[in-house]
């Protein structure tokens, strides 16, 4: 997908701007706090209809304004077919409106991922150094964008989980609590299977990317499910395992007043391949190693998009090279040139940091939210 045009209204400090994007992409240069990340946030909003920085929609509306709106004109590279994706949010009624070619979808899930974009940000290091919640969120976004039915299963699982937890907290008899188990196990098994399959399929790519960027040892990613799974368990086996452990946890969950096992307690383990043990990058990795692992996760995400959606992803780079040492920076750049990437939109405070695409990207400048070509 190519992003041809972008119309922004009252999104953060970006004011009202209508921009035409060059087909190869653009490098946005500007000092800190001028709105570089806001620009990428606006673009990526059209991919997931939420802030990649985890901001609430209210926070995205410009000061003194009531509504923000972002609309993008996309064009398919092969067919030339174009499409318009728009999103708006009204602060007062807390109403979000999303449309594709003017039509509102029945469910948000139906229009996720139209951009086929991946965003790389310095905050990605949290994927590695942060808690399991960060990594589950990463898995959930990647799988919602690439795996049909995943988002529905995840949403069902969450709905059932909060209700089951409310029953537990309420001290309802176990006959009432277990009434939720069938739904919890069914949706939960679908979530677990999708996570397990994705991680198993992509762990080789993760190792390779890590190794190429680090220029030395590799790293592994492994699924660490809350429910212990046998190798190659099918969905039915996963459901049975989940049901068994749920039944065995009855007393503990009653005491804690919450469901203690299930995919809401999963983690993605990232380890160095330096010895048999494998050091956990979260606990023992250096800053450079964690940043490398985070980059590798995003590169795997980009590859997933490329393979499942069969299109070169739009790459958004939010000043990611600044914190890498020289060697890593060169190797990431080389890797990105080699991989089949689509348009690239990158931000940087310095001209000299934008050597991607053989330094061929047109330069735009941003100052106090105003973008000039």
């Amino acid at each position: 997908m190519r992003l041809n045009g972008l119309a922004i209204r009252h999104f953060r400090n970006l004011g009202s701007q209508d921009l035409e994007l060059p087909s190869e992409g653009v490098a946005l240069i500007g000092d800190n706090a001028q709105g570089k990340s806001n620009f990428l946030e606006a673009i990526y909003y059209l991919e997931t209809f939420r802030s990649f920085r985890g901001a609430r929609d209210e926070q995205l509306v410009a000061f003194h304004e009531g509504v923000f709106r972002v609309a993008g004109t996309l064009q398919e590279r092969d067919t030339g077919r174009s499409m318009k994706v728009a999103a708006a949010f009204e602060k007062k009624g807390k109403r979000k409106k999303v449309s594709v070619d003017g039509a509102e979808p029945d469910r948000m899930g139906d229009v996720l991922g139209r951009l086929a974009a991946v965003i790389f940000s310095p905050a990605d290091v949290e994927l590695v150094s942060g808690g399991p919640r960060e990594r589950r969120r990463f898995l959930d976004i990647v799988l919602s964008l690439s795996e049909p039915g995943y988002l529905t299963a995840l949403q069902d699982y969450r709905k059932i989980l909060v209700r089951r937890n409310a029953s537990l907290k309420d001290g309802q008899p176990s006959s009432v609590v277990v009434a939720w188990d069938s739904g919890l196990v069914g949706s939960g098994a679908r979530v677990m299977r999708a996570r397990r399959d994705w991680i198993e399929q992509r762990c080789g790519a993760f190792r390779d990317y890590y190794q190429e960027v680090s220029g030395g040892i590799g790293a592994q990613m492994r699924y660490r499910p809350s429910v212990t799974l046998a190798d190659a368990a099918c969905k039915e086996d996963i459901a049975l395992a989940f049901r068994d452990i749920l039944a065995a946890s009855g007393e503990r969950e009653r005491r804690m007043g919450t469901t203690v096992v299930g995919p809401h307690r999963d983690d993605l383990l990232l380890r160095l391949e330096d010895d048999a043990e494998g050091l956990d990058l979260r606990a023992y990795g250096s800053g450079g190693q964690r940043r490398t692992a985070a980059l590798a996760l995003r590169l795997v995400e980009a590859r997933t998009i490329r393979e499942t959606r069969e299109r070169a992803p739009l790459i958004l780079l939010d000043d990611v090279f600044a914190e890498l040492d020289g060697g890593r920076r060169e190797r990431v750049l080389a890797l990105m040139e080699k991989e089949e990437m689509g348009q690239v939109v990158l931000t940087s405070p310095k001209e000299s940091d934008v050597k991607i695409r053989k330094d061929s990207l047109p330069r735009w400048r941003i100052e106090a939210g105003r973008i000039t070509a």
Binding site: V162, A179, S182, G183
Partner: protein, 199 residues
């Protein structure tokens, strides 16, 4: 507050009616004949004074027993459990169902503090017990939402040990939709294709 404001406010509290539509309805009534408006107000009064839940099944009724329960030609061996009384009408509308009903008055909804105690459930179990085996099948027609499903599982757990077969409406009813909004032929198909509950 003026009469017009008050009535507009009353209309606006009804489902699916916003302030603009409410005002339009009030204007319409003011322009129309006084007799029409009186008839409407009498109907509203009758609704509030004469409609009550059926003593047996909880369906809307004008007497102790609703039209379904008081009809001797209905099949007393089958009982269809719905969440809300207005859903009885949706199933009756298919013309395909000859059994009786039981209205739960809601569904398990722990976020709203609704557990089994808050539902018309004890009466259902009592009805089954008192029938001494005459009720052979319970069709669970709770909605296909996560709460409707959990309610179905709970009912199955409670009812099956008492003897009757427990069946669930076949899939095909869109997930999360109330029976009220599903068309008659879809409901008829779901009834015909009902299956034994399995968990």
């Amino acid at each position: 507050m003026s009469v017009i404001e008050r009535l507009t406010g009353d209309f606006a509290r009804l489902p699916g009616i916003g302030p603009k539509t409410a005002l339009r309805l009030v204007h319409h009534l003011m322009k129309g004949s006084k007799e029409d408006t009186r008839r409407l107000s009498r109907s509203l009064l009758d609704l509030s004074e004469r409609i009550r839940p059926c003593d047996v099944c909880g369906n809307f009724s004008e007497h102790e027993l609703c039209e379904v329960c008081s009809n001797p030609r209905r099949d007393g061996t089958v009982l269809c459990v719905v969440e809300e009384a207005y859903e009885v009408g949706a199933i009756e509308g298919t013309g395909q169902y000859r059994g009786l009903f039981h209205v739960l008055g809601g569904r398990l909804s722990p976020l709203d503090g609704v557990g089994p105690e808050e539902l018309n459930l004890a009466a259902l179990l009592e009805r089954i017990r008192r029938s001494e085996g005459e009720i052979e099948e319970i069709i669970i027609a709770t909605n296909a939402s996560v709460e409707g499903e959990a309610t179905a599982v709970y009912l199955d757990q409670e009812i099956r040990p008492m003897g009757p077969r427990v069946t669930r409406l076949a899939r095909g009813i869109p997930v999360g939709s109330d029976l009220e909004y599903v068309d008659g032929s879809t409901i008829a198909q779901a009834l015909a294709g009902r299956q034994e509950m399995s968990i």
